[in-house]
Amino acid sequence: MKGSSQTKQSDREITISLQNVTISYGNSEAVRNIYCDIPRGKVTALIGPSGCGKSTILRSLNRMNDLIQGCSLTGRVLFEGADIYDPKVDPVEVRRRIGMVFQQPNPFPKSIYENIAFGARINGYTGNLDELVETSLKKAAVWDECKDKLNESGCSLSGGQQQRLCIARTIAIQPDVILMDEPCSALDPISTLKIEETMHELKKNFTIIIVTHNMQQALRVSDMTAFYNAEKLETGSGGKVGYLVEFNKTDKIFNSPTQKATQDYISGKFG
């Protein structure tokens, strides 16, 4: 691994690879012709102005877009070399390896303990559940707040605690990759800081891909950054289509971007 060049990563380091991916809602394209190789064991941030399709891209990585009516994808999304959009692939299997944390904290209306145990059980966990609940909550840095009320409803926690519970729930199923869709946008600054600290811990064990509209957050947590932009569709219908402008190490993107659009965006000229 050490021998690989700076610009081109070897295949062994890539966990998810998007190859000429175009995603459409009905007849209108949302993102177009994306090529992107996401490295293993790193935090990758997807940034860009609203409407550039960064959340759409994220949701396509564990086939959450299947839930949206009329959403279709062309191109290939390779996870560890296997195309997850192959007709033979079961999306449920994909999601067991690529977990997801959502914008709104969404604990199940069950106890805190059950929130963690639910995912583990349906994944056929055979180990000690109590232990798993404790380690997951600890990894998500919410154990101290929860340890005395594991039997209370997950909804009784504060927003930031709920979000960390949702992270713990995802950690518990031991996915290879964790997707985070603007996980802090519904939270206050202090909770945000805690979640960012959690992410630093998590990247030792997991590949994390995070969508954020907050550039400071991308700078703070990520190793790699992909900048997406949107352009008006040629049809003149007013619709926009997103595309990948630049993908590189985070410090490169923020300090010496190669594209002018990236420069303009991170310096706050638009978006």
Binding site: M64, Q69, V92, F102, N106, G119, I122, T170
Partner: protein, 308 residues
């Protein structure tokens, strides 16, 4: 405004309420009229309930609810009891529930969780609304035509099974709508959360969304059962009536009594004793239905307070 002032001074009397103004008279007349209308609207409930309570409630005793009714005749002091009709109502309603609840919940799950807004689901939603508007007597006529006259179910003619099937046709749209609407109240975030930890659709529905929507669905189903228990039209030529206890292995394949058909038959008899029994049966039926209604209201309010 009717009083226009040329000066900008506003004295106390300008702002005072003047009942003599046209607009105030108009307002009061309309308010009074709707008050009368509201009174008229609640009057039937009060009158019907009090007659049922007085004429029916006064006859209630243990033998009435445990004995069999006597066949009509003018030499009777008493027309007997309504025991078999109470039991029959329970049996027929249970049969209807066994058919309609799984089917309706399943259909509701399809509409709320699986359907994609395509022509099929739109058609099913539309069909559910249309089916709920089909007159109940027509459900009875059809079950008579398909099941009773053909003796298709083990050679049974008029039977409790046929009555239950007819009632289930009436329950089905209500159960579907209740389930559909109950599930739609569940936040999509929960579904995404479950799928995000690798749950299959079946597990998401059975372990997360259905339990979350349990109270509204259960409330609606309880109301649908109460409604079915009072239905008469689908039963008069499917379950028919019987003066005997349902008994033995053939109980469900023979004509069976029910409270509602007893009321219908005995109300139209020329004999006072039978008419009295109809009132007593009305009391029992109305009490069963009202208590179920109040219970489901309490259930709904109780849980909604707890949640907020």
């Amino acid at each position: 405004m009717t009083q226009t002032k040329t000066t900008s001074h506003i004295t106390k009397s300008d702002l005072a309420y003047d009942p003599g103004l046209n607009r105030n008279i108009f307002n009061n007349i309309l308010t009074f009229t709707t008050a009368i209308f509201s009174f008229v609207s609640v009057l039937p409930l009060i009158l019907v309930l009090s007659y049922v309570l007085i004429k029916g409630g006064s006859q209630i005793n243990l033998s009435l609810i445990t004995q069999l009714p006597e066949p009509p005749g003018d030499d009777l002091v008493s027309a007997g009891g309504i025991g078999n009709a109470i039991l029959g109502t329970f049996i027929v309603t249970t049969i209807a529930s066994i058919i309609a609840i799984p089917m309706g919940v399943g259909g509701g799950i399809y509409l709320a969780e699986y359907s994609n807004g395509g022509w099929f689901s739109r058609f099913i939603r539309f069909g559910t609304n249309v089916l709920s508007g089909v007159p109940s007597i027509i459900a009875g006529v059809c079950v008579y035509g398909v099941i009773v006259s053909t003796k298709i179910i083990f050679g049974a003619n008029f039977s409790g099974i046929a009555g239950g099937i007819a009632l289930s046709i009436l329950m089905l749209p209500t159960v579907i709508k209740t389930t559909d609407e109950g599930l739609k109240l569940v936040s999509d975030d929960l579904r995404k959360g479950a799928l995000g930890v690798g749950a299959s659709k079946f597990i998401t529905i059975s372990r997360i969304t259905l339990p979350t929507a349990f109270t509204p669905i259960a409330t609606g189903i309880v109301l649908a059962i109460a409604r079915a228990a009072g239905e008469t039209a689908p039963l008069i030529f499917t379950a028919l009536f019987s003066f005997y206890w349902p008994s033995g292995s053939q109980a469900l394949f023979n004509p069976i009594a029910s409270l509602s058909v007893l009321i219908y038959n005995f109300a139209l008899e020329p004999y006072e004793a039978q008419n009295q029994l109809a009132w007593a049966a009305s009391f029992v039926l109305v009490m069963l239905i009202l208590l179920t209604n109040l219970f489901s209201r309490w259930l709904r309010n109780f849980t909604s307070i707890n949640k907020s």
